[in-house]
């Protein structure tokens, strides 16, 4: 596929990826696990859920929606289940009584074929928008959240995963995707590994000719800062509402597009459009408006759907306030860019 240019309103609004699964879907999944439904029925339920999510995104006025990751239970599990060489021994606790099925790498990892291409194709078929975002968990996070029984080092493991992710992103590109976001929440958690972690991300996006964003959340962005230039992605999608829009200083020297997190996904309090607008005005002191996307801090999946919907609406309304101000300065439209620098 070739890159095509798409026009968007200035300050394009988007999501990070995940969205609450509708209650009926959660119940259906439980029933499917008890073998009460056939695989085909499960797939149909997922499809219906994606349509419902896109409808929520459309009603809120989000410019670039996602499928809400309806088919994915968890961001590492989903990929580990679809790559040869992983094994699941059982859940491990993450906090309290909350668990994660942490995979173990027990043999050489092999790409079995597309993992999320079908997700993308369905989303594109039913979406209201010209562009959709496809998320994919990054190589460092998959390596960090797995047990390594096979590779000599975590670095070797991460680079092997990076080559697999690279094939997947290229398969998405082949299928017509133009916007992929690599999710790396673990990227800064071991500062002593950041040098090669950055290169693993670069390996994953090597030779890719579409727009690639990188999402890093709940992290010390100071650790990331020296590597802005070295990361071969066009956008950083970062979380700022959670930190009360402090730490914006870390954006000094950013020469890429910023996906600016304006609503807190860990709080049920719904922000006001004015708060969102004020935050956008504040960030514009560091990043020019033509290099800004607006999004929630992180995936919305842990919120009740009603609140998630309201948060998206507020995000769009707040953005529109600032758009009006920019219009007076003659800035109304931007182009979807894949360039590694901005402006």
């Amino acid at each position: 596929m070739v890159w095509r240019s798409v026009e968007l309103p200035v300050l394009p609004t988007t999501v990070i990826g995940s969205y609450p699964r509708p209650k009926w879907l959660r119940e259906f999944i439980a029933g499917y696990r008890e073998r009460r439904y056939k695989e085909e029925q499960m797939r149909e339920a997922f499809d219906d859920a994606v349509i419902a999510v896109l409808n929520d995104h459309r009603e809120a006025g989000v410019d670039i929606p996602s499928d809400g990751e309806m088919r994915r239970d968890e961001m590492v599990e989903y990929f580990a289940e679809r790559i040869d060489g992983f094994k699941f021994y059982g859940p491990v606790r993450v906090w309290g009584n909350n668990y994660f099925r942490k995979p173990a790498v027990v043999s050489k990892l092999r790409y079995k074929g597309p993992m999320v291409v079908d997700e993308f194709l369905f989303t594109r078929r039913v979406t209201y928008s010209e562009v959709v975002k496809v998320t994919i968990t990054g190589p460092y996070t998959i390596a960090d959240w797995s047990f390594n029984e096979y590779y000599p080092s975590k670095e070797d493991l991460a680079f092997e995963i990076a080559r697999i992710i690279n094939r997947e992103i290229k398969a998405l590109e082949e299928a017509g995707a133009i916007y992929v976001q690599v999710d790396e929440p673990a990227l800064t958690t071991h500062p002593e590994e950041i040098e090669w972690a950055i290169e693993a991300v670069n390996e994953a996006v090597k030779g890719v000719n579409i727009k690639v964003g990188l999402h890093v959340c709940y992290s010390d962005y100071g650790i990331l800062r020296p590597y802005y230039d070295r990361l071969n992605v066009s956008q950083f999608a970062l979380e700022f509402a959670n930190r009360g829009f402090r730490d914006l200083e870390v954006l000094k020297g950013l020469n890429k597009e910023l996906g600016f997190g304006v609503v807190d996904v860990h709080s049920r309090r719904v922000e006001s459009p004015e708060e969102v607008a004020a935050a956008i005005r504040k960030v514009m002191q560091y990043v020019p408006p033509e290099c800004l996307f607006i999004n929630p801090d992180c995936g919305l999946k842990l919120l009740p759907r009603r609140i998630a919907r309201q948060k998206l609406r507020v995000m769009v309304e707040g953005t529109k306030i600032v758009r009006e101000e920019l219009k007076r300065k003659g800035l109304e439209r931007v182009e979807l860019r894949k360039e590694l620098t901005c402006p």
């Binding site: 021994y89 059982g90 859940p91 491990v92 606790r93 993450v94 906090w95 309290g96 009584n97 668990y99 994660f100 942490k102 173990a104 960090d144 959240w145 047990f147 390594n148 029984e149 673990a186 958690t189 071991h190």
Partner: protein, 325 residues
């Protein structure tokens, strides 16, 4: 000749069944009393498996605990329980204590009673006196560093946590027949505050008895402090993270637990390698040598933890056989 043993330090992962018991409590399906009855039964069963595996020194698996701070900090006056904080570099989170005023242990704390219940299980199994039951507690340096306390420095917090909570609890535990197991990853994690840790180690040393556990990083840089704990303490170090066990012995640590079974990787260790390491440490002059897990087994899926526990017993049996002790 040294005495060899197998030991479990810290927590054991919740089985499916234990997770269900917790879920029922959280959802309000069962009350505290029923929870205690069910968890008590599971703990008893678990202790049985430790004994059967051949462990000489172990905890009760901490099935009632969320992490090394909780629920302890819920039984402390002057402290509130905050949101989730990452536990060092793990994808594991704990609820941090917020220190509002000087922490002081509540009389209603149930931890001593849990320890007594564990000791009763040992009696029932007929192994009391042959094995050691330990109660893990956060060390003063680790809990002080994990505390959120406005305007308090870590040095004062170390003192306050020790005198108000850890010291009285430790004394009660010892009276109840349990051995305190202090978890102090902080002293090897943040070497820039070494001077403060010297004091924290001295406080712990004052109880003259227990296990002192460090993990996640090599203990070599703090070996001088560990040597000062005295003969009443078994010092457990993280060999997987690169601690030079020989260095511990030459610095004067006589009772050493080798954290050589990796609780952060599902890969199984080689029996031969552990046996040689333990023998070497004994030859270096250690009087008591335990093979152990390096850190909380909670980082592993339960089926793998079970295998690693049995493996520890196997290593010990081979050591005993080969050394003729």
């Amino acid at each position: 000749m040294a005495v060899f043993g197998a030991a479990l330090i810290g927590s054991y992962p919740r089985s499916e069944k234990v997770a269900t018991i917790h879920r029922k409590l959280i959802k309000g399906v069962i009350g505290m009393e029923e929870f205690e009855r069910l968890i008590g039964a599971e703990t008893e069963r678990l202790i049985g498996t430790f004994v059967k595996a051949g462990l000489d020194s172990f905890t009760d698996g901490m099935l009632r605990w969320d992490d090394i701070f909780n629920p302890l900090i819920r039984f402390v006056d002057g402290v509130e329980v905050n949101g989730l904080v990452r536990f060092y570099d793990n994808n594991f989170f704990f609820r941090a204590p917020v220190v509002k005023s000087d922490p002081s242990l509540k009389d209603s704390e149930p931890i001593t009673a849990w320890c007594r219940k564990g000791v009763e299980v040992l009696e029932k199994l007929g192994v009391k006196g042959q094995v050691t039951l330990k109660q893990p507690l956060p060390g003063p340096a680790t809990i002080a560093s994990a505390s959120i306390a406005e305007g308090e420095d870590v040095e004062d917090l170390i003192d306050k946590w020790w005198s108000g909570v850890l010291e009285p609890l430790t004394k009660d535990l010892i009276k109840g027949g349990c051995v305190p197991e202090f978890h102090e990853p902080e002293i090897v994690w943040d070497l820039s505050r070494r001077d403060l840790w010297v004091k924290a180690v001295e406080l712990v040393a004052s109880v003259n008895e227990g296990w002192y556990v460090t993990y996640f990083r090599p203990a070599d840089p703090v070996v001088d402090m560990l040597a000062r704990l005295g003969e009443g303490f078994v010092v457990a170090v993280d060999v997987v993270s690169g601690t030079d066990a020989g260095k511990m012995v030459s610095a004067g640590v006589k009772r050493l637990a080798l954290g050589a079974v990796d609780a952060r990787n599902t890969k199984m260790e080689r029996c031969r390698a552990l046996v040689s390491l333990a023998k070497r440490v004994a030859e270096d002059g250690a009087e008591e040598v335990f093979v152990a897990n390096n850190t909380l087994l909670d980082f592993l899926p339960e089926p793998v933890a079970r295998k690693k526990v049995r493996f520890l017993g196997r290593v010990k049996r081979r050591l005993v056989r080969e050394s003729g002790v």
